[in-house]
């Protein structure tokens, strides 16, 4: 083996030997015979080995000792490959799981924007139940102009647009930004220039900035890209610059292709003027010396005045809602991080789970290392007897665990990257998030740190106990007893950790089962959801023609039973809501008059397989000119009409009165956890408003995978209108799964680690019992000889198991109860303190322990007294 520090080996022994030989030569030259000369030289120089050690002490020996220890560790570990492989794999699993989750934590929660002083950035926004919402343009302008503790602010909105470049149409993600975007961020261009005040002058052609990724993807990094004209929403722009490769926009995971100045003509009148049209996000930079607390206080004062004036113009009924709104400013070094808001809680829970797994692995390894030290007792005793220092021996043992932990960490690090990428895909589950989760410097530091910590946790106690061994064999018996107690302590620890993990697993699996059992009010199987986009918006007159044609063509496809369309589909994020008046119903004071509102095409409910409870669906008879009609859901009917029929009743909203023609079963629109909304549906032919609406199309296939239809659908979309493109074609099961992606991950990982913990704890119980039975063979033999029955022997072992499981489960229960606050929010259908959960977990633990005890118990029952007594 080659060691870098070997080359600098000073060869002290050689140097000293040269000295001695020169001395002998001189003595001989002076007339002594060789024997006498040698004797005199030895007398003069003393013990060369001793002298060599003195010199080594001077030179410092830390590195050298380490190299020796490492070589020795490698040699000993190679001699027991079975142990080494198990140990390395345990470390690899424990460390790898931690690295994988931490990579996600680092990527999602710890990365700052690559801009100047990111910690000085604050998001200023309305707060919806404590979460950041969006703001209107007038509110943004007030924040920007009136808050004194910021040096600048910008607002932005993200859109997907068709951009015309070089005569080719391209769907791009564009970031619409107000003036000062790059100045507030403090960003330098990689090429050309970034947006400035000139781009907002109405007279000139405004510039756009492209991202490094888009430059690469679309233009192959061609320098001629600067100055190219771009057409966006019929307006002309020029590409003026490229952002640096490290800058991926202000929304982590959603890098923009184009950054476009928010010129007046890109905003509708409502977008610019309406105080309740919330469509922007605001980021600001704190002024020098100002704090986020000051900015927060100012934002609240300004927002207070803002909602006051808003409420003054609102109806009596809406006023409390408006005045109840909150705003705030908080640090946003990572920009608008939706991912962090969404998955940081499950990530922290997973971090806790894998932390416990690593602890479990360490405890398990501690037991293995202890057993190993036991076997090496002779070696240790000899080394102690010939004068090895205990500290030195402990270092030697720790080096061994360090080798194991490092090897495990290496394997863990290599596999973690793959696991975290897979986990991230599961978390975002088809949503378009583009975030690199490959390890950054934090991950490397973290890996090294936990490798060293776990090496010490696993290796220190066994090492200390091993060198406590006394050279005097008479004390050996006492020590073996102690070792047994320590071993049992380890097993109880394992059982306790496992109990916590099993409780977590039960909670998450239970949550997933409960969500799966939720009545969704429709049948997703066999449904294909089709979304389209058009390069240019259709006119109000043309849009319905294209939309109805598309729906009719989809319905007549071979292999399709029915097809329909709606503005909002179940489980895709909720409904619009509207205030209503209902015929024959008087609202109580303070009772909200809002209901869910959806616009649908004919055959919507038969396509979704939502049961029609009374009346009829919309069909071709319901035109813009015919009687205004509505369908309501069961909750609506029950709330407003009690036991009477809803059919023929009237409901009025935004000044339009509709006759109710049907009642359908409830369906969940937001997600599976949310409550059912009282909902009214109107036919798409009778929708008010002159702006064309966007629809999702839904197709019920006759058989097989709905996704098979995608190519056909894509061609069909182009046939209906050349300006129309297929955006997505997704089977509905995928969408339903997306609504449960976090729960699925938690159940899968929680379940996996829970199972693993049970197995590890079972093995621990088995190991200790087997050891105890073997050690007590003699005692058991005596008991048998004195008339104890085999059943009593089994009872002896089982009492042992019961004691350990009892202790472990109790400690684990206490631990799990202490941690319930962490998981409360993500549970569904059960609570974190549900006694059933703890019962299930305790039964699982006990069964595993009993299973593990079976073999040792049988051996105890079969002890032959004669053999056992002779054994001594």
């Amino acid at each position: 083996m080659w060691w870098p520090w070997r080359r600098r080996d000073p060869r002290i022994a050689d140097e000293l030997r040269f000295h001695r030989e020169s001395l002998i030569d001189d003595y001989i030259a002076a007339g002594m015979d060789r024997a006498e000369a040698t004797r005199r030289a030895f007398l003069k120089l003393g013990n060369l080995a001793h002298l060599e050690e003195d010199v080594r002490d001077v030179r410092g020996r830390w590195l050298e000792d380490l190299s020796r220890d490492l070589r020795y560790a490698f040699r000993t570990l190679r001699r027991s490959p079975g142990f080494s492989i198990i140990a390395v794999l345990s470390f690899a699993l424990g460390i790898g799981a931690n690295v994988a989750i931490f990579s996600l934590v680092s990527a999602v929660m710890l990365r700052s924007l690559p801009v100047r002083a990111p910690h000085r950035l604050v998001q200023i926004t309305r707060l919806l139940e404590g979460h950041p919402g969006q703001v209107s343009y007038p509110l943004f302008a007030q924040f920007r102009d009136q808050i004194k503790s910021i040096s600048g602010a910008f607002a932005n909105a993200s859109v997907t647009e068709a951009a015309l470049i070089d005569g080719q149409e391209d769907f791009v993600t564009a970031e619409l930004v107000t003036a000062g975007y790059y100045q507030v961020l403090g960003l330098e261009p990689a090429a050309g220039r970034l947006l400035g005040p000139a781009d907002l002058q109405p007279s000139s052609t405004p510039g756009v900035v492209i991202s490094d990724g888009y430059w690469q993807r679309r233009f192959g990094r061609s320098p001629t890209v600067l100055g190219k004209p771009v057409t966006l929403r019929d307006r002309a722009f020029t590409i003026v610059g490229v952002t640096p490769p490290s800058f991926l926009g202000v929304r982590p995971g959603q890098p923009p292709d184009l950054t476009v100045p928010l010129i007046d003509s890109l905003m509708s009148d409502a977008q610019r003027r309406a105080t309740d049209f919330n469509w922007l996000r605001v980021l600001a930079r704190l002024a020098p010396g100002a704090t986020v607390t000051q900015a927060n206080a100012e934002a609240q004062v300004i927002f207070g005045a803002f909602v006051e004036s808003q409420a003054a113009h609102a109806s009596e009924k809406d006023r409390p809602g408006i005045l109840g709104q909150r705003a705030g400013a908080f640090r946003a070094p990572d920009g608008f991080n939706v991912l962090r808001d969404n998955i940081s809680q499950p990530l922290m829970i997973l971090m806790g789970i894998v932390g416990l797994i690593l602890l479990l692995a360490c405890v398990n390894l501690s037991g293995l290392l202890l057993a190993r030290a036991e076997m090496r007792q002779r070696e240790i005793s000899i080394r102690l007897a010939i004068g090895a220092g205990r500290g030195r021996l402990v270092r030697q043992f720790l080096t061994e665990s360090l080798v194991l932990a490092s090897a495990g960490a290496l394997i863990g690090l290599l596999s973690a990257n793959w696991v975290s990428a897979w986990l991230f895909r599961m978390f975002v589950n088809g949503r378009s998030f583009n975030l690199s989760v490959s390890p950054d410097w934090r991950v490397f530091v973290f890996t090294a740190a936990i490798a060293i910590i776990s090496c010490v946790v696993a290796g220190l106690t066994p090492a200390l106990r091993a060198v406590r061994a006394n050279v005097n064999p008479a004390l050996k018996e006492v020590r073996a007893q102690g070792q047994g107690r320590f071993g049992r302590g380890l097993v109880v620890t394992q059982l306790a950790i496992s109990m916590v993990l099993v409780v977590a697993a039960t909670l998450f699996v239970g949550t997933l089962l409960a969500l799966n059992a939720v009545d969704r009010g429709f049948d997703p199987e066999g449904l294909l959801v089709v979304r389209v986009r058009s390069a240019q918006p259709y006119s109000a007159a043309r849009a319905p023609v294209v939309q109805q044609a598309l729906r009719d063509r989809l319905a007549s496809l071979p292999g399709v039973a029915t097809a329909s369309a709606s503005q909002m589909l179940p489980l895709t994020g909720g409904l619009w809501d509207r205030g209503v008046q209902v015929e024959g119903y008087l609202f109580q004071p303070g009772e909200p008059d809002h209901v869910g509102f959806n616009v649908i095409a004919p055959a919507y409910f038969s396509t979704l397989a939502t049961p029609l409870l009374a009346g009829r669906e919309f069909d071709e008879r319901d035109t813009a000119a015919s009687l205004k009609v509505a369908i309501v859901n069961e909750s609506f009917a029950r709330h407003f009409f009690r036991n009477q029929s809803a059919i023929g009743r009237h409901v009025t909203s935004v000044g339009v009165t509709c006759e109710i023609v049907g009642v359908v079963a409830d369906a969940k629109y937001q997600d599976l956890r949310s409550d059912i909304m009282k909902t009214m549906y109107i036919p798409w032919t009778q929708r008010e408003g002159d702006q064309p609406a966007r629809y999702s199309y839904v197709v019920r296939t006759v058989s097989g995978d709905p996704q098979r239809l995608s190519p056909t659908v894509e061609r069909l979309v182009g046939d209906v209108d050349s300006g129309l493109h297929l955006a997505t074609a997704t089977d509905y099961d995928t969408i339903v799964n997306r609504a449960m992606s976090t729960e699925r991950i938690m159940a899968a990982l929680g379940g996996f680690f829970g199972l693993l913990a049970i197995v590890v704890a079972g093995l621990g119980v088995f190991g200790v019992l087997a050891f105890q039975v073997a050690r007590r063979t003699n005692e058991l033999g005596v008991r048998m000889a004195l008339g104890a029955s085999p059943t009593a022997m089994v009872g002896l072992v089982l009492r042992d198991v019961a004691a350990m499981v009892g202790a472990g489960v109790t400690i684990g229960t206490v631990g799990a109860l202490a941690a319930t606050g962490l998981v409360r929010n993500i549970l569904f259908g059960l609570t974190a303190t549900d006694p059933r959960v703890f019962l299930v977990a305790a039964i699982a633990m006990a069964s595993a322990a009993l299973l593990a005890a079976w073999l040792p118990a049988r051996r105890a029952a079969r002890v032959d007294p004669v053999v056992a007594l002779r054994h001594e």
Partner: protein
């Protein structure tokens, strides 16, 4: 010293003597030991046990450089040479020694 007994070296003096000897040219440990004995007329006793730790300490401080080469007898020996910082160190120690011995001599004279 009338009884001819050899005195132990003063603390730190050994380093200075070694630097002085090595300053004369590349030299191995055995030769240094011999030279020290000769130079001090065998009055100063250099314990063999302290020579090598001292050599390696000076090397570690970068005042000496060492490399293996053939000795006169044809054997491989470790030869030491003085480095630039070593020479500076020698000068400083020497100046200090001169001041010290002048001062001590002065004290002894006055006392007579």
């Amino acid at each position: 010293m009338a009884d001819g007994s050899k005195s132990d070296l003063l603390q730190g003096t050994l380093d200075m003597l070694i630097l002085k000897v090595v300053a004369l040219g590349p030299i191995h440990g055995y030769a240094i030991a011999q030279r020290l004995e000769q130079m001090s007329d065998a009055v100063l006793q250099v314990q063999q046990g302290s020579l090598y730790p001292a050599l390696h300490r000076l090397e570690k401080r970068r005042w000496l450089r060492a490399e293996w080469a053939q000795s006169d007898t044809g054997r491989e020996a470790r030869f030491y040479t003085l480095t630039a910082p070593g020479r500076k160190q020698l000068d400083e120690q020497r100046a200090y020694w001169d001041r010290l011995s002048t001062a001590i001599t002065g004290v002894l004279r006055t006392a007579e």
